[in-house]
Symmetry: C2
């Protein structure tokens, strides 16, 4: 396991006796080219992905055949379709590398075994999901509350590093606006 | 602790030696009248709430002074503003009983102590937040993907028990439509 995940775990699990070498066996390192898919529509999301380096996005193809991006993940973020990961049913999503990326994958089977053998990792994943749950509440509120322009301002204030790295057409898709309108907002 | 939470824990934590009596000490039972608030805007969300009986909603008051409902919780559901619960800052939300309700409250301090003393509860809350995270992903997808009418059909298919119990004007608020439009959809 890379030092990156090790440090991330140490942020949440403050115990000296975490056996990082043993835990590393549960993760598979993957190198992804730009635009390479980790998940495609109709397949089961068998793994949960931790971004060591690079940038991923999750999207679905809508009724009009357009790719609708709903989530990004950069360094130190986890990404999966957690419904499919949990129930083993086909996913409506794609997970794709926006940049050349290095990720650690943990399969559902390995995840269950890891938690069984190293219960301290329950704490780590409890923290990860609790924070993601909090972030999702905040995001759902924004959907009710903010205009497209306000969504952009909030997103760029909270995630300045994203706005530098994400291609404009993908950010526009995430914000549910046309690239032209995003460009207009940015030029103001 | 009531049998309701005990059974809910047993669904996720399949170990015979959970000391339910000891765990119960961390929770405070509360009886709520209809329309009683557990949280008001500007206050810190100090507790996480488990619904034993009844129905809660979380809402904020928007710029126009209108209550915007963003979440419901009925029996066996947890509800809190997890951002405020985590960072101790004031919440933008109200949490209110829609019906006369019985809830179990666990304060942030008690939560931290519970997890410290009974690490098996990490597993329980990891499962709760992982499922909530999955549900939030699904809901965010719906915001991009579905019309108001489709949102209503999906919501009533997935939560038939809600549709019976939630007053129409609150369901309309949650679905971000007027009560008149919801009534029109329902009469079709």
């Amino acid at each position: 396991m890379s030092e990156i995940l090790q440090q991330h775990i140490a942020r949440f699990v403050n115990v000296p006796n975490v056996d990082h070498a043993a835990i590393a066996r549960f993760f598979q390192p993957l190198e992804l080219k730009k635009k390479e898919n980790l998940l495609t529509e109709g397949k089961v999301c068998h793994s949960n992905y931790f971004v060591e380096q690079g940038l991923l996005r999750m999207f679905f193809v809508n009724d009009k055949g357009v790719e609708q991006t709903i989530q990004f993940a950069l360094e130190n973020w986890w990404l999966a379709d957690y419904t499919s990961f949990d129930n083993g049913k086909p996913s409506p999503y794609y997970i794709q590398a926006i940049e050349k990326s290095a990720v650690l994958a943990i399969s559902r089977t390995a995840y269950d075994e890891l938690l069984q053998q190293y219960p301290v990792m329950e704490r780590y994943f409890r923290c990860i999901h609790q924070r993601a749950h909090a972030a999702a509440q905040f995001r759902i509120k924004s959907h009710y509350d903010l205009s497209g322009e306000e969504m952009y301002r909030q997103f760029s204030n909270l995630n300045p590093q994203f706005v530098q790295r994400i291609p404009q057409y993908l950010l526009a898709s995430y914000l549910n606006m046309t690239p032209e309108y995003l460009s207009e907002i940015r030029s103001r």
